[in-house]
Point group: C2
Chain length 391, copies 2
């Protein structure tokens, strides 16, 4: 298949590109280095030393495997780039990771909020119009987030809710309670996608993904030049990855607030497996299909305890220091999200284990001289617009 | 009260500005003439001869009433303008009509879709940040649309739905099925507003308005220079207003498709009454309040029949010619939308009557030499992106 990977330079986009190329597909990866630039501005960086550019990574991949990943460096909000990609490559599947992916980044101030929403909404509209015009039978696999749902007091279904109301019934989009300007941008995207499927008959799968952890995939292990990025800073890092790094460098683990925040999690190798399952089993024409993409639920505190326990096994003394929660979110709440559709397609989960955490310790240990510790603690706060930008 | 009216040059914004000024409030009206420019590009115009600019209209209003409407000509997507407005005027209420308001306009092509969503989302984000920073106790009265809900097979509630699911319950945002890129922009806005109320404790009322009809308010009748605009073209015109004009000029009425599309409707004088009720009864701090703002439900065909009947009374021979539906929408469907919250605040509806239609005929007749007939029939189609913009 001809598979277009948007955001092919990212934590997930790069290993996904390599995986599809090794599986025998024609892969075209696109990126504009938004995340690299945001790191540069903030003075942070990936723990792992990744190739300097997408072409350099593709060159290394070719040397190691003999396989080709075609790359484009370009901004998906620029229609001329999107149009050329669709016209020339004629994708059969489009895997869309190509958005600004950080909740804290979007909450820095007005400018970052406007940028995140504009960037994400416009590049996804461009993709939808390109599909409608140039690739109406292609299948869009779009990365969304479980964070679109927030934490309602009912079970979270996969995209839709069967509603009975005043003696009538309908199946309607599941109500959304997103918790940041970034999560809102994904909700906007989901509504736009649903509409494009209804109106133009496009095929789309919205992957409401949980929090991804892990540092290695089959392909990143082939050669050091094929490593994927690993973020641990307050803007791009996520709970479990950050905790593992904190354990290795002797920094206390820092759950935000009480730590009762419960979310779905999955291993990076399962992200790739899920995306592959979605691509190989496309949505029907006109179908807006939604999968909840995670394998297990944990509270933040449960993860911290797991990391402490795994640390003790390998002689790391790990402390847990709760920090003031920079976000506005429920710290104790009901959470039960359905996630059976990907299992039904054949997903074989790699569940979280002490062994996995210990192997993450090992990999992180290899690069621990590269850690920049000043940006680990949260600085971006959800409240307090006024204090932060008085004019 | 100090009331900021965003979109103060529009069909509703201008009479709202005059009404609040006459009621003794300090009014500051803002507009960037998006709609006037869209008309110029398309070669269409308001039926009524409106003042050439917002300052000219405010001058005429001062001459007629002795009252002041302060005006700013500026683009709300420009933060420096929004910031200055909030810093200098210190509004207590913000009435936000300031968006690109047309579903067909947003469906012309990719560029118009991107413009509509970007313009509407960004200017509303700017307003929310300005409130959070500079006017945290002000009350935002935001014009949304009943079109956010679409036509679900259940009763439409006012913004929220009480859900029972698997033995648990919650009150959640009512699911949205918007029918155009424009309606989607309003759904995006609603999610952003709800978040700002939850996170920053802002006060907001989202007015999910039905289709507005009518041509005169108490203030527009004071002097011809105070008229509000009246659109009947395929891009900015709406069903009942267009039917009345068609009846007067001897053009067949043109329901789209079967004409069973049912929506909520209200008289322009009730729009002003509803907005005033919302402003005088503000939402609580942190409350995202949603009102369904209409007074009666009609199908398109019922309206056409009403206009035919009223025409017969005054000697107009009115024909009804169904045209191919340019939109993708259900032409026969269940529709029952709750609209009690504004009634509870004291709304006294001006229901649709033959007398009202006959008085519209009269006013339209006065300006019928100004009618540009070539842009009445629908040209913008929801399907067929490919045919329309092949490159």
């Amino acid at each position: 298949m001809r598979i277009l990977i948007l955001g092919g330079d990212g934590y997930l986009g790069w290993p996904t590109s390599m995986h599809f190329a090794r599986a025998g597909h024609q892969v075209h990866a696109v990126d504009d280095y938004l995340r690299r630039r945001a790191h540069q501005e903030a003075g942070t960086d990936s723990l792992t030393p990744i190739g300097p550019s997408l072409p350099a990574r593709a060159d290394a991949f070719r040397e190691v495997t003999g396989l080709e990943i075609v790359v484009t460096e370009g901004d998906l909000t620029d229609w001329s780039i999107v149009e050329r990609l669709f016209r020339e490559f004629e994708p059969e599947a489009v895997v869309h990771y190509g958005e600004m992916p950080s909740a804290p980044y979007s909450m820095i101030d007005r400018e970052h909020a406007v940028f995140t929403q504009t960037n994400n909404v416009v590049n996804t509209l461009n993709v939808l119009y390109a599909m409608a015009e140039l690739a109406p039978d292609a299948h869009l696999v779009k990365l969304g987030t479980m964070g679109e749902y927030g934490t309602p007091n009912i079970d979270i279904e996969e995209g839709y809710l069967d509603v009975e109301h005043n003696g009538r019934s309908d199946t309607l989009p599941f109500p959304k309670l997103p918790g940041s300007m970034y999560h809102l941008s994904k909700v906007h995207d989901s509504h736009n996608l649903h509409f494009a499927c209804r109106i133009w008959g496009l095929r789309a799968t919205d992957l409401n993904q949980g929090v991804v952890y892990g540092i290695e995939t089959e392909e990143t292990k082939l050669d050091e030049r094929l490593l994927t990025r690993f973020d641990y800073d307050e803007v791009f890092g996520t709970a479990l990855n950050r905790f593992c790094l904190q354990a290795v460098i002797g920094h206390p683990l820092t759950p935000y607030g009480k730590g009762g925040q419960t979310r779905g999690y999955l291993n990076i190798v399962d992200t790739i497996q899920c995306v592959e399952l979605a691509v190989l089993n496309p949505a029907d024409a006109g179908e807006f299909r939604v999968f909840n993409q995670f394998t297990e639920q944990f509270s933040v505190l449960e993860l911290a305890e797991l990391v402490r326990k795994a640390g003790a096994e390998v002689g790391l003394e790990v402390r847990i220091d709760h920090v003031d929660n920079p976000r506005v979110e429920a710290e104790e709440h009901y959470y039960n999200a359905v996630h059976t559709k990907l299992m039904d397609l054949g997903l074989k989960p790699h569940l979280l284990s002490e062994t996995l955490i210990e192997s993450m310790f090992e990999t992180i240990g290899r690069y621990k001289d590269r850690v920049i510790p000043d940006h680990i603690l949260p600085a971006t706060r959800w409240r307090g617009v006024r204090e932060r930008s008085p004019g």
